[in-house]
């Protein structure tokens, strides 16, 4: 039995040395939020964090990840969907079919952690995930909204829940339940 540290828990798994992390997550650990899109690190649907950095798990053998390295998947990003990126995604209705969005969100959260005030160029360079529905402009807007939110929180101006009050730029009307779901 080999071990992986996933979402704060050490989990046992058994796989051949070449089995990609993606398939260990999906098929052995039951974490299906991380998606298979291409298998050759082109589309980014399988993006997870390893020690905070975005990694395309479809080409990374699970056996090469040390038990000391911390893996975070979409399921472990926040307990209740409350990461500012997730909240901005809800506020702006970013996803369409949603299949690429786990990877998109993991790429975006890694970006705003590394660069709390990313430029458009930073966003262009970090967000190379493929979305066939075409959510890119809302992805960009969502990153900017989350960055603003995080800056406000840091400055002590209404952390976390500010998204609910701030009218989103697209004028999308949410029910109370839609904005508080996940906040449990």
């Amino acid at each position: 039995m080999a071990k992986l540290n996933v979402n704060g828990t050490v989990r046992d798994f058994q796989a051949d040395s070449d089995t990609p992390l993606l398939w260990v997550l999906r098929e052995q650990l039951g974490l299906t939020g991380t998606k298979y899109g291409c298998g050759i690190a082109q589309c980014g649907s399988c993006t997870v964090h390893i020690d905070g950095a975005p990694v395309r798990s479809c080409v990374r053998p699970a056996s090469s990840v040390k038990p000391t390295e911390k893996i975070v998947t979409i399921e472990g990003l926040s307990k209740d969907g409350s990461h500012p990126i997730q909240k901005a995604w809800v506020a702006l209705d970013v996803p369409q079919c949603g299949f690429c969005q786990s990877g998109m969100i993991m790429a975006a959260t890694a970006l705003v952690k590394a660069k709390p005030n990313p430029t458009d160029k930073d966003i262009d360079e970090a967000m190379t995930n493929i979305c066939r529905c075409g959510t890119y402009n809302r992805v960009r807007a969502g990153i900017k909204m989350a960055v603003q939110e995080m800056a406000n929180a840091k400055a002590g101006k209404g952390a976390g829940k500010a998204t609910k009050k701030v009218a989103n730029a697209l004028g999308i009307e949410h029910t109370e339940g839609q904005l508080s779901r996940g906040e449990a």
């Binding site: 098929e27 299906t32 209705d93 996803p95 949603g98 299949f99 969100i105 979305c131 109370e176 996940g182």
Partner: protein
């Protein structure tokens, strides 16, 4: 709340079916995502709650469950259709959730939910009438139930946000309290719908009902389904279309861990079944397969190009639109303008590859799959299972993209059932690799087009001949729809009248005809369908005429559009918003396009720049849509933006080529998609003129490429007539 999952009745019948079919599944059997759904809907025993009608269930806690027959694949139909029902129901939008009835239930109830097909941008426009009536009838029954309880006339009661009131006696109740009584009433026969001016929910920018789960990884797609005892399958079909499986050597495969079985699937494919999909794929990669490649083994794109090119001047052509005598007018003209265009094969490339899960026994076959047409999936299941529809069921799962690939043909469903049939009682999940998905597509049809215009001495158009040559989708998928050698869908956007897809220009002499030439590459309905190439051919050629006659492209269009006010209105909206009458920013050039398709009028202006080195940058798109009634403007904007991603990705990068009878491109490295860095700013104008219901998901795709191609011409003087653009140099 878990939107877009099968209805509870479906679960009940599934559990029963599974119990009957497979002893091993009985103990502790549950479907995880449905259990999850229960947790999110506290009083979820909707099996015990009688429906008001096919469309509406109201739970005692006032939760409203709206049944959705069409499939959600990102286009927002789940939310839009729920808005239509809720508008007439007068319920509290905050209490609305949705569920999918199953195709089997639809058949058992004489198709109570109508058509399940989700394609052709038809979800809302072709079901709006009966789903609104469903909501209105349910409201009437709920109010009647309250009135009966109070012994007052129903006409004295008012209703708003799920609350029914009787002012005179100051009494109030809620939908949840009277729903059981309402369910027992006889539905009214005649029902009036609201005047659009009184709508309060239709037209609002409400948030989608299915967003949260997509931000937490909890949304279950077909690929994520897990059933107890389930095995996984990977498949390879003969890469040469029409070829057969001759045999295979499994000695290396059997050495791979976890392999359970290697099975023939029909006469053209082989699947490896294993404990995990990764093992199945590894086993498949190790399999030495021998194919009988058949008659198409040497087919190539180059050879097809010759065949289709010959069709441009062939005698056999079906006429799609004719007015006057174009050929005579052109022959007698002072000058002609001529150009030949082409459009390649393209794969849909849904982010989620084709997949399905099946359990087969001699008594019953059940399938779980992302599909654009649940009833089509049921028919495919029944046929492959060798069982009647009544002994089969399909549970629709959320789609990771559809774009037309998951609607007309359910080849992957047929495959999974044929595999499951060889392992009775064991749930089998089949997932296509991206490579399989790329080479076993149902491709955007290949066509060429020769455009010829006759001009008089003043440069006025005297006649136009548009000869399309190439592939017919219907000839492959619905041959019974071909009439006298004519595929009517070929002429999308070019028809003389009709509310679906008509040409927006008047020509004194016009001939549009099609020489059908069908390569062996199977065609499919690809988002936007034939409108895509037709809009390129016509809109780019109109620009060519404008250039040849030194006219402004907008001015020329205006002259030709006098009898097409709705076509012109969207074009004018775009021109006004972009500031067509003022110059573009320095170094930036503009191109226009408009079309009518899927019942909506659309137009776009692209602003691009091209560097000396030939690098194209699309800066900004202004796009207008007249879809008649706009149900959810913020989702229309999302669809319009997405249409430019899909349309520009196709125009810039995408082409499936054929060599040795098979598709060459196998993954996103050689079939690139538009990425965020390429994405222009998109400004969407919703010019909803009312009085009709047009589609939204597809029409705008068709104006993406011609607007950009026309802008490239304005920037460089280069006229690109063959896509994709990656095959051309824009270098000065």
């Amino acid at each position: 709340m878990k939107n877009g999952q099968p209805v509870n009745a479906g679960r009940r019948s599934f559990v029963k079916g599974a119990a009957a079919s497979a002893g091993s599944l009985v103990v502790g059997f549950h479907v995880p995502f449905l259990k999850n759904a229960d947790a999110q809907t506290p009083s979820s025993a909707s099996t015990a709650i009688p429906e008001i009608n096919a469309w509406v269930v109201v739970k005692p806690d006032d939760t409203v469950v709206v049944r959705i027959a069409r499939s959600e694949m990102g286009q927002g139909t789940l939310t839009g259709l729920a808005q239509l029902v809720a508008e007439e129901l007068e319920c509290d939008w905050a209490k609305v959730t949705t569920e999918y009835p199953t195709p089997g239930q639809n058949l058992a109830r004489s198709r109570a939910w109508g058509d399940f097909g989700t394609g052709g941008s038809r979800g809302i426009r072709q079901s709006q009438d009966y789903v609104r009536k469903g909501g209105a009838i349910a409201r009437t029954m709920l109010v009647q139930a309250a009135a009966d309880e109070w012994k007052v006339p129903a006409t004295e009661c008012t209703v708003a946000k799920s609350v029914i009131s009787h002012a005179a006696s100051k009494r109030q109740t809620t939908f949840g309290k009277v729903s059981a009584a309402a369910a027992k009433l006889t539905p009214p026969k005649d029902i009036a719908l609201k005047d659009p001016k009184n709508w309060t929910l239709i037209g609002k920018r409400v948030a989608r009902l299915d967003t949260v789960e997509k931000t937490t990884g909890k949304q279950i797609y077909g690929m994520d389904l897990k059933l107890p005892g389930m095995l996984n399958a990977a498949i390879k079909a003969c890469p040469v279309f029409g070829g057969k499986l001759k045999g295979f050597d499994d000695s290396a495969t059997m050495k791979v861990a976890g392999i359970k079985k290697i099975v023939r699937v029909g006469d053209d494919a082989v699947a490896v079944v294993a404990d995990t999909w990764w093992h199945a794929k590894k086993g498949l990669d190790a399999l030495k397969i021998e194919w009988d490649e058949g008659a198409n083994a040497k087919a190539s794109s180059a050879a097809y190009a010759e065949v289709v090119k010959a069709g441009l001047t062939a005698k056999d052509a079906a006429v799609g639109n004719k007015n006057g005598d174009a050929l005579a007018a052109i022959a007698a003209s002072a000058k002609t303008v001529e150009a030949v265009y082409s459009y390649p094969h393209q794969n849909h490339a849904c982010m989620e590859t084709m997949n399905a899960t099946a359990v087969w026994t001699a008594e019953k076959c059940e399938v779980w799959t992302p599909t654009q047409n649940g009833e089509g999936a049921l028919a495919a299941t029944s046929e492959a299972a060798g069982l009647p529809n009544s002994k089969c069921e399909v549970y629709k799962l959320h789609l990771g993209g559809g774009f037309g690939r998951r609607g007309a043909v359910h080849d992957w469903v047929r495959q999974v059932v044929l595999i499951a049939k060889q392992m009775p009682g064991t749930p089998i999940k089949l997932i296509w690799s991206r490579e399989e998905d790329m080479v076993q597509g149902k491709y955007h049809p290949l066509t060429h087009c020769k455009m010829v215009a006759g001009l008089d001495e003043k440069g006025e158009i005297t006649g136009l001949h548009m000869r399309i040559s190439g592939q017919s989708i219907l000839a492959s998928l619905r041959p019974e729809a071909i009439r006298n050698g004519m595929d009517p869908v070929v002429f999308q956007g070019l028809n003389d009248g009709g509310g679906e897809a008509m040409i927006g220009y008047g020509f004194a002499n016009l001939l549009i005809d099609h020489a059908m030439r069908n390569p062996h590459v199977p065609p499919g309905f690809w988002r936007g369908v034939n409108l895509n190439q037709n809009a390129i051919y016509l809109e780019c050629f109109i620009d060519e005429i404008a250039a040849a006659t030194k006219q402004d492209p907008l001015a020329l269009r205006r002259k030709l559009m006098t009898k097409y006010p709705k076509h012109q209105a969207v074009l004018e909206a775009v021109a006004k918003h972009v500031g067509w009458d003022k110059p573009a920013p320095a170094g930036v050039f503009r191109g226009l396009a408009q079309t009518h398709g899927f019942g909506s009028y659309v137009a776009a202006c692209a602003e691009v720049s091209v560097s000396k080195e030939g690098a194209l940058k699309v800066h900004r798109i202004v796009a207008a849509t007249d879809c008649g009634y706009a149900v959810n403007p913020q989702q229309i904007e999302a669809q319009v933006e997405g249409s430019f991603v899909y349309g520009l990705g196709a125009a810039l990068y995408q082409e499936c080529t054929v060599k040795d009878g098979r598709i060459v491109e196998t993954n996103f490295h050689d079939y690139p998609s538009l990425k965020l860095a390429d994405m222009p700013k998109v400004e969407t104008l919703i010019v909803a003129s009312g009085g009709f219901w047009g589609g939204v998901g597809e029409p705008t795709i068709a104006v993406a490429a011609p607007a950009v191609l026309n802008a490239i011409f304005a920037a460089t003087g280069k006229r690109i007539r063959d896509l994709p653009l990656k095959n051309h140099s824009l270098k000065a």
